[in-house]
């Protein structure tokens, strides 16, 4: 029963501790919503989970095994949607998605093309199939970035402000895609300000894990 666990995670940025002693356990099919003020470390936590940022302390476990044993193998289970949409203005919508799905190859090779079409369909981008990236609005770009989730075989979705710039219809489609992914045993961790309607999702408030005010006494004796 694969689960994704964080134990006593701590992270610092530009020399300042952002959060400490952070734990969570995410069962298969689970969802975790990260809430917190700006700069409370939501994005940093997602980047630590994705493996982009090294935590200062603590461990991640996948399927009961520590991730550090084989970080590359674990990363195959990750699909990370960060702030950047990673869209090349010169390439068309289809070419952008085709490139990323070649870099993150879907499980089965056959039915590759209609998987791409299905991904575009999920986020209603079919009509924009051959439109170059530079002509996309920010909402459309976001939907193209999210469509990578559909083609990637990853079980864990790490979403950083996924709903930014999405209209209501697209928001519904995103929620539907998340529900479908969870139904298939996948997991979703999303940092978001706008309320996402995700059924029985766990909530994690970053403030709960703010670093303890450093004990002045500890500061003293270190000299």
């Amino acid at each position: 029963m694969s689960a994704f666990e964080a134990r006593n995670l701590a992270c610092s940025r530009v020399g300042r501790r952002i959060f400490a002693a952070l734990d969570f356990t995410l069962p298969a099919g689970g969802a975790l919503i990260l809430r917190g003020a700006n700069g409370s470390g939501k994005s940093s936590l997602l980047r630590v989970l994705a493996g982009l940022l090294a935590p200062v302390g603590g461990e991640l476990h996948w399927d009961g095994k520590p991730v550090n044993d084989d970080p590359e193998a674990f990363q195959d289970n990750i699909c990370y949607v960060g702030h950047g949409n990673a869209i090349k203005p010169v390439l068309t919508v289809h070419e952008n998605l085709a490139f990323w799905s070649k870099l993150y190859p879907p499980k089965s090779a056959e039915g590759y093309d209609d998987l791409l079409d299905q991904a575009l369909e999920t986020f209603s981008l079919t009509t924009l199939r051959d439109v170059p990236g530079r002509q996309l609005s920010s909402g459309q770009s976001r939907r193209l970035s999210l469509s990578r989730l559909i083609t990637s075989p990853a079980r864990i979705w790490l979403l950083d402000e996924p709903s930014v710039g999405l209209d209501d219809v697209s928001l519904k489609r995103l929620e539907a895609a998340i529900a479908e992914h969870r139904a298939g045993g996948g997991m979703v961790i999303a940092a978001t300000h706008t309320p996402l309607d995700i059924a029985d999702a766990d909530l994690l408030l970053l403030q709960d894990f703010a670093p303890p005010a450093i004990d002045p006494e500890l500061l003293e004796n270190s000299w």
């Binding site: 982009l52 990363q75 990370y80 950047g84 949409n85 010169v90 070419e95 490139f99 870099l103």
Partner: protein, 221 residues
């Protein structure tokens, strides 16, 4: 391997669709070289003597000019993060991007070099050796340049910094590149120079992906 192939294919497609970049680099190469006669004087023998040196130095500067194209766009739009997380090892990604960069920069320079050789009244007999030496030297320039480009991602005015980091490391390639052509002109054996260039290329093929990937990981933090 398809992943890395995908990166090469994409970068080539990007370069083809933004052909102006590659054209600008070649124009810079030819134009800068063409400036020297105005500075040094049009006297044929003198130009022929400095021709190999001018060609190599201007080729070096042209490659330097094009290094920003390697990672900056991917860094800014978030592609670099996704490439780092992809199953394709980052070292291979660096190699793939450098190869694509070389195809769109190194090769055009090699194609344009004979034009400058003629402008400088360099004997045509040395052209094959010049092309061969540049074939061995320009990949090294892209490889070492990639390290400089990756290291300055996220730096304040990184572009200004790249020449200072990279030019000292270009010197061996410059020395043996020019000496190969000089040897050809003077009728000396050319093999040792080309072998040395090849040796430096092999070292760069190992060092550049390792250092480049380490630098990209730092940039993604």
């Amino acid at each position: 391997m398809t992943g890395a192939g995908g990166i090469i294919a994409r970068d080539l497609k990007l370069a083809l669709r933004q052909r102006s970049d590659a054209v600008m680099i070649v124009l810079f190469f030819v134009l800068t070289a063409a400036l020297f006669p105005f500075g040094v004087g049009p006297e044929a023998n003198q130009l022929a003597a400095i021709a190999p040196g001018v060609i190599w130095v201007t080729a070096l500067l042209a490659v330097l000019l094009s290094l920003e194209r390697l990672f900056l766009a991917d860094y800014e739009d978030g592609s670099l993060e996704l490439m780092a997380l992809s199953p394709v090892p980052l070292e291979l990604t660096v190699l793939a991007k450098v190869f694509a960069h070389w195809l769109t920069t190194g090769l055009p320079l090699i194609a344009a070099a004979p034009l400058i050789a003629i402008l400088f009244n360099m004997p045509v007999s040395a052209l094959p050796i010049l092309a061969l030496a540049m074939l061995l030297g320009t990949p090294t320039l892209s490889l070492i340049g990639a390290i400089g480009a990756a290291l300055t991602l996220g730096a304040r005015r990184g572009g200004v910094l790249v020449p200072l980091l990279v030019l000292p490391l270009y010197i061996p390639t410059l020395i043996f590149g020019v000496s190969a052509v000089d040897a050809a002109l003077l009728g000396f054996p050319v093999r040792p120079h080309l072998l040395l260039l090849a040796g430096i290329l092999l070292i760069s093929l190992v060092v550049s992906p390792l250092a480049g990937a380490a630098a990209l990981r730092q940039a993604n933090e």
